[in-house]
């Protein structure tokens, strides 16, 4: 009768390697929650004084009325900002941004966009981002920074005057804030769609591998 021995190393190495480390997963889902709260409450606030000739449907807004929407917005902003700041610091400190998102070359992006549109873009190794992913993920970080800066500027146009100046003036900061939201919504749709098309990427963001 043979005895079977399993080492800890074997247990640990048997599953495939970690694609998304725990900190990325935790911060990703906190960010997802915070973003959705910010968008839905932001739509409520937008509806109080629309910038364009449309309003967001009431059933897709948070807070019930302007005052409620503002309470949600200025509560969820802490979640978004603290989590976002922690993400930026960890991303730079661990070298993850450099390793995962760089380089982004125009030829690489063009190549991968063409491949994606002809459904030839492979996802064999989820630990390596293709150029479309790099561009989208790096781009959305920039948009995330812009939406927070324009939002802070609108929140404190006197105390944080230099932030408003960055965008020109208060009304411009409002437009920047709106278009960043629009960009995040477009990203969200593409991002969720692609995650559903490549379910193992969704699994990696939940259980890490």
């Amino acid at each position: 009768m043979a005895s079977l021995t399993v080492t800890d190393e074997q247990v640990r190495s048997t599953p495939t390697k970690v694609i998304q480390p725990a900190w990325v997963r935790v911060m990703h889902w906190i960010n997802a929650l915070a973003m959705i709260l910010m968008i839905l409450s932001g739509w409520q606030i937008y509806n109080a004084s629309p910038l364009f000739g449309f309003s967001f449907p009431r059933e897709y807004t948070l807070g019930g009325w302007l005052g409620g929407g503002l309470l949600w917005h200025f509560a969820a902003m802490w979640l978004l900002m603290i989590n976002g700041l922690a993400y930026l610091i960890t991303g730079f400190a661990t070298g993850r941004f450099r390793k995962k998102l760089l380089p982004i070359t125009p030829s690489g992006v063009l190549h991968d966009v063409r491949a994606a549109l002809t459904f030839k873009l492979g996802h064999d190794d989820l630990t390596v981002y293709n150029y479309v992913q790099r561009l989208l993920y790096a781009g959305i970080i920039v948009v995330g920074v812009l939406i927070v800066l324009s939002g802070l500027g609108m929140w404190k146009p006197v105390q944080l005057y230099y932030l408003v100046m960055l965008f020109g003036d208060y009304p411009t900061a409002r437009y920047v804030h709106f278009f960043c939201m629009a960009a995040i919504c477009v990203f969200l749709v593409i991002h969720v769609l692609l995650a559903l098309l490549v379910p193992k990427s969704l699994r990696a963001m939940i259980i890490g591998r």
Binding site: M1, T7, W29, G68, L71, F74, A75, W78, Y170
Partner: protein, 260 residues
Amino acid sequence: MAKRSFLIPGVDKRLLIKDAIKTMPDFTRRRFIAGGASLGALTLLTGCDVVDSSSADTLLSQVSKFNDAVQAFIFNPDALAPTFPESAITKPFPFNAYYDLDDAPDVDGKDWKLEVRGLVDNKKSWTLDELYKLPQVTQITRHICVEGWSAIGSWTGTPLRDFLKLIGADTRAKYVWFQCADKDGYNSPLDMRSALHPQTQMTFKYANEILPRAYGFPMKIRVPTKLGFKNPKYVVSMEVTNDYKGGYWEDQGYNSFSGS
């Protein structure tokens, strides 16, 4: 690294390996639960429990109080609101209230008196003529509404801090609380540091003309470091107080500090 030995007599190796594989989802599951638990705690923190909406409301109002403290902390009494040239003035400057212009208070300037109460040495009431004799300054600043829109206007009047000094107000008190002639009794508290801000003004004129009814005749409090609803119009009394007496919009859920 310690070796864990599993001695299982009479068991097929292949089946054993299958069983071992079965334990792996459990391994990953435990990791997931550990991650999920923090997400669960987060859900509590954000008041996401929409089933019990009153607990979410309580939490949101607590965060709003926290935001009051944060805003008071970052408020710089010397930071001035940007000023603009006359050419930048928004024309027409919007009338804005929770009622139509027809329902705006129609105050008779001859009968009107500003009542002064609370922690002040001189509680005498002030007629409009008396107030008009005080030194006045003009500011062209941006009015920012809680709704998001903004408009640039020209306001002329007496800095509130000069008036507070004149009446011997205790400027260590926490608030100046304004009551207004609007229907349903508009009122609003102003924290003392904002009340003493150099641009905070008892406004008697708009665009160099006596303040029209639409903009709050006979007196408005212009606070360019606050959102519009903290700029009360048709003011009838001010009270220097340490008590938080609430306000028309503040009581309904607008953030009380609402500083800009």
